[in-house]
C-alpha cells in the first residue's frame, strides 16, 4: 500500500497545484477584465452559438481535432441548421466580405477543411463577438 499512499499524495498535490494555478489565472483574468472596463451586454443564445461555432470551425483545422460525428444536429442536416441560423441573423449584420480570414481561404475551391459550420462561420467570422452591432 506504499504505492497507493504515494499515488494519493500525487493526486492531492497534483490536483491542488492544477486548481491553484488555474485559480490564480482566474484572478488575473478577472482583474484584466475589470481594467478593460468593457460593459457586459446580454446577447441571445443564438448569437452566442453562432459565434461559438465560428471559433470551433477554425479549431477544427488543428491537427488532432477531427470531428468524426455525423453531420447532423438532432436529426436535422447540420448545413440546414446552420443556414437557418445564418438567415435569422443576417439582417442584423453588415457583411464584410473582403476580410475573409486566411485560415479558410488558402486552398480555395477545395472543401478540404470545411466543416459543416463553415457556412455559419463565413458570415460572422470577422467580428469580434459583439452582436449588438457595436
Amino acid at each position: 500500500m506504499e504505492n497507493l499512499e504515494w499515488g494519493l499524495k500525487m493526486t492531492v498535490l497534483g490536483m491542488g497545484l492544477v486548481f491553484s494555478l488555474l485559480g490564480l489565472l482566474w484572478g488575473l483574468l478577472t482583474l484584466v477584465l475589470v481594467l478593460d472596463k468593457e460593459p457586459s451586454v446580454p446577447v441571445s443564445a443564438k448569437e452566442a452559438i453562432a459565434e461559438a461555432e465560428r471559433i470551433a470551425a477554425v479549431a477544427d483545422d488543428a491537427v488532432g481535432a477531427q470531428v468524426p460525428e455525423p453531420a447532423t444536429v438532432n436529426g436535422m442536416p447540420a448545413d440546414l441548421v446552420a443556414a437557418i441560423m445564418v438567415a435569422t441573423m443576417k439582417h442584423k449584420l453588415t457583411l464584410r466580405r473582403q476580410a475573409a480570414p486566411f485560415m479558410r481561404s488558402y486552398w480555395p475551391g477545395s472543401k478540404m477543411f470545411a466543416s459543416r459550420w463553415v457556412a455559419t462561420g463565413r458570415v460572422r467570422q470577422n467580428y469580434s463577438w459583439q452582436p449588438r452591432g457595436k
Partner: protein, 375 residues
C-alpha cells in the same frame, strides 16, 4: 552457380518473419482501418499505422541505424520537438475568447484533469512503475502533444500504445461522453439554461493572455514551460496579427510536415517484443478509464458550482473541461439539445473546453514536476 550462401541471403527476409512481427503488422492494419474507414484521427493514426507496418517488416532497414524512421525519431521525438511544434499550430488555431469572457469557467478545466491522477493510482496498483504510471495517467490529459511529451520523457518505451490510446479515444469522445453525462445528471439539471452576456475582448487583452499564461505557468511550474510556451506562442502569433505568414506556416506547412514525421516515428516504436505485453492491454483499458473519470469529475465539479451559484450552472458543461477542444464542447451541446432543442450551451461549453486545454498542459507540467523528471 547459385550457391548455398546466395540462397540463404535470398531467404533472409522470409526466415526472419516472426509471429510477433506478423501480429504487429495486423495491429497496423487495424489502425489503418480505424483511420481510413472509421475516420479516427486519420492524420495521426494513418502515419502511426504506416510506421508500425514498416518497422515490423522482417529485418526492416527503416529502423536500423541511419534508417529513415530512426532518423525521424531522433529528429523530433528524442528531443520532443515534434509535439511542441504541433502545439504551436494548435495555439495558432485556438480562440480563447470564450474563456476570456467568462473566466470563472477556468476551474472546470482543472476538474477535468482528475482522471490523470486516478489512472496513475490504478496503474500503480497494477504494478507499473511510478514513471510508467504517470505516463499512462497522462492519457487523461486528453491532449495528444501533452501525452506524447510527458510519456516521451518518463517512459519512452510506452510511447506507441499511449499515443495510439490518446488519439483513438479522442476520436471516441462523442461516444464516451454522453452516457457518462446522462448517468450523473438528472434531466432537470441538463435542461438548465444559461444566459449569455457578451463583452468585447480588447485586442490588448487577447495579446496579453498568452504572455501572462506563459509567464505565470512557466514560473510556477518550470517543467510546463515547453508545453505551455509553445501553445501560447502560436496563440500570441495569431492574436498579434503581426506575423500572419508565420501563423499560417505554423498551422499548415509545419503542422502537416511534423504530423507526418511524428506519426511515422511513433509508429516505428511499436515493434513486437515491447508492444506485445499485457501492459499494452492495461494501457488501452486504463486510457478509457482516464477519459471516463475526467468527464465524471468535470460534471461533478460543475454540479458543485451549480449548487454554489443557486442553480445557474448547467452541470453538463463540466464534461467539456476535459479538453479535446472543440469536440467535447460540441458533444455537450448535442446532449443538451436532446432534452431541450432550444437550449444553447455551446459558448459556455467552449469556455470550459478552452480552460481544459490550458489545464491539460498545466497538469502535464505538474506531473513532470512531481516526478522530478529531468532535473
Amino acid at each position: 552457380m547459385i550457391d548455398q550462401e546466395t540462397i540463404v541471403l535470398l531467404l533472409k527476409g522470409v526466415n526472419n518473419v516472426t509471429w510477433q512481427s506478423m501480429f504487429m503488422i495486423g495491429v497496423s492494419f487495424v489502425l489503418m482501418y480505424l483511420a481510413i474507414a472509421k475516420d479516427y484521427e486519420p492524420l495521426l493514426l494513418l502515419p502511426i499505422a504506416a510506421g508500425c507496418m514498416l518497422a515490423n517488416l522482417p529485418l526492416s532497414p527503416m529502423i536500423a541505424e541511419d534508417g529513415m524512421l530512426k532518423v525521424l525519431y531522433n529528429m523530433g521525438i528524442t528531443n520532443e520537438m515534434f509535439p511542441l511544434l504541433i502545439f504551436v499550430g494548435i495555439g495558432a488555431l485556438t480562440d480563447f475568447g470564450p474563456l476570456l469572457e467568462n473566466p470563472r469557467l477556468v476551474l472546470l478545466g482543472a476538474a477535468g484533469q482528475f482522471g490523470i491522477f486516478m489512472t496513475l493510482i490504478f496503474a500503480l496498483l497494477l504494478g507499473f512503475t511510478p514513471n510508467e504510471s504517470a505516463s499512462i495517467g497522462i492519457i487523461g490529459a486528453i491532449d495528444g502533444p501533452t501525452s506524447i511529451y510527458v510519456s516521451g520523457i518518463l517512459a519512452p518505451h510506452m510511447l506507441g500504445p499511449i499515443t495510439v490510446a490518446a488519439y483513438s479515444y479522442m476520436s471516441l469522445v462523442p461516444i464516451i461522453l454522453p452516457p457518462i453525462i446522462r448517468l450523473l445528471t438528472s434531466k432537470q439539471e441538463r435542461m438548465i439554461r444559461m444566459p449569455y452576456s457578451s463583452r468585447k475582448i480588447s485586442r490588448r487583452t487577447r495579446i496579453m493572455f498568452p504572455i501572462v499564461v506563459t509567464v505565470l505557468v512557466g514560473t510556477l511550474v518550470p517543467f510546463a514551460t515547453p508545453l505551455i510556451g509553445m501553445l501560447m506562442l502560436g496563440n500570441l502569433m495569431k492574436e498579434s496579427g503581426a506575423v500572419e505568414r508565420l501563423t499560417k506556416a505554423s498551422a499548415a506547412e509545419i503542422a502537416n510536415t511534423v504530423t507526418l514525421f511524428l506519426g511515422l516515428a511513433i509508429g516505428s516504436t511499436m515493434v513486437g517484443s515491447e508492444f506485445l505485453k499485457t501492459s499494452t492491454l492495461f494501457i488501452l483499458v486504463l486510457g478509457i478509464v482516464a477519459f471516463a473519470v475526467d468527464a465524471a469529475a468535470g460534471v461533478m465539479f460543475a454540479k458543485v458550482l451549480n449548487w454554489l451559484s443557486g442553480g445557474k450552472v448547467n452541470p453538463i458543461i463540466g464534461a467539456a473541461g476535459i479538453s479535446a477542444f472543440p469536440m467535447a464542447a460540441r458533444v455537450v451541446q448535442r446532449v443538451a439539445q436532446e432534452d431541450d432543442f432550444e437550449n444553447f450551451l455551446l459558448m459556455h461549453a467552449m469556455g470550459a473546453n478552452a480552460a481544459g486545454q490550458v489545464a491539460s498542459v498545466v497538469a502535464g507540467g505538474v506531473l513532470l514536476a512531481l516526478m522530478g523528471a529531468g532535473g
